[in-house]
Subunit: 265 residues, 2 copies
């Protein structure tokens, strides 16, 4: 196999372009790197389309295993020089293993059937770390996936992938406009629970449905009125001190684990 | 008042040095910037020793108010040029208002009396965002403060301050070695609840004391055995999916809100 030595190789240029959200959206691919996350993606099934390896940078037996496993699974392997790998890496100490993978998500439409299980809908979530952390918690509590409403941060942003600790590969991702979501909820009588600082119902004193959607507003604005209006109920988390709100991933996680507790077997 | 125009002014050099943890530790000062966080610090009392203002960058009425309020409170004000302000700022769009503040924390020793209320002890927490987020949740649920064990990230790191949303000014911070903490716990029969993935007690099926410490392990290693051994009990958060753990700030927050629920009035 030939090794790519030039940082201006056209394939390498395209891989570097995956750092830009715009090109990720156009291509529907994304870039991931590091031994641990590449293992998660390999184990999760058909995600990786190409493994990128720099033998000069590989330092651990685990990394060697990853390359062998990818070969066994028939994944295309691209060997690159140390310099080329460093040019595509976003890390200070690159581990010599990275991958290009295909994004997996679906778009909500009015004919989407009601979704079984616990879901979380996020309105204009802006921070990729928060989104990744919510996916990780959703995995922990046994939820199904996220519904991203309107302009959200990208679940395939490197920070989101990192924070998800691999849960981005196991949880379902649906994208929608707020309008389509609201129409779909009304059409199908979907049970949606919103959260808002001002809500009177304590999140601990509400009976969550076994199949339902927890709806969270954005970090900056919270939940817009139109979305609050389609909720069966809106709950709040009590705040005792000076802070007027919790971190979005924390608030989501506290309510998600309350739901998990109510429906545990 | 004279304006500082030179980025190599000795005072400006020292302010820039506050980006380094080492110099923060030596000087016991820290740097904070942005209108919102400076307001929080001003409202919290005697934190800010010097306000740094660049009139050319101030864009909002709120920022002008902050400067006036600081003047009223007798805070020293240093006027700097746009260029100088940009040289000390860590932000892309600096708001023209920053401050130098004095760190406030105490060191645990064997004569420290038992601490009333809910506390969280963090063993070698590494991520400043996690630490700030935990302070924010602690404020939300009515806890008293954090005890930082051994080598932890700095609560006065800009990322920690940002994530805390001002709670770094309202919650108490105590530093200790693990050894002193363990000796102090034993001497005073302090009630400590640990968390570990492997623990058999579900965090929801445990009665937390009204005055007690929740003890969390580090992001990487969890809770070391010696620390687990001084706990009254160790609880776990059930994990349903592929993920083997939750984000540390999320796990801390879920248990802290369970404690808050058990002791709400």
């Amino acid at each position: 196999m030939d090794m790519i030595n030039s940082t201006s190789n056209p394939q390498i240029k395209l891989i570097r372009k995956l750092k830009d959200r715009k090109y990720r959206a156009e291509s529907n691919f994304f870039f991931l790197e590091g031994v641990r996350i590449v293992i998660e993606a390999l184990n999760a099934g058909e995600w990786i389309t190409q493994l990128i390896v720099s033998r000069d940078l590989i330092g651990s037996a685990k990394a060697v295993e990853v390359v062998e496993e990818a070969e066994c699974k028939g994944v295309a392997i691209m060997e690159v020089s140390k310099e080329v790998f460093e040019s595509i890496s976003g890390k200070d100490g690159p581990q010599g293993v990275a991958a290009v993978a295909q994004q997996k998500w679906t778009e909500l439409d009015l004919n989407t059937p009601p979704l079984p299980g616990i879901w979380i809908a996020l309105y204009q979530i802006a921070d990729p770390g928060n989104l990744g952390t919510i996916l990780r918690t959703l995995d922990g509590m046994g939820g199904e996936g996220v519904i991203l409403l309107d302009h959200c941060t990208d679940p395939f942003d490197p920070s989101a992938i990192r924070a998800s600790m691999g849960s981005v590969f196991s949880k379902k991702i649906i994208k929608s406009t707020s309008q389509t979501f609201m129409d779909w909820v009304k059409k199908n009588n979907i049970l949606v629970t919103g959260t808002a600082d001002s809500a009177k119902t304590d999140y601990r004193q509400y009976q969550y449905p076994k199949n339902g959607i927890l709806l969270m507003g954005s970090e900056r604005e919270g939940l817009p009125e139109a979305l609050a209006a389609i909720c069966n109920d809106v709950v709040s988390i009590p705040m005792a001190g000076n802070a007027d709100s919790l971190n979005l991933a924390v608030a989501s996680s506290i309510v998600l684990y309350e739901i998990a507790w109510q429906h545990k077997e």
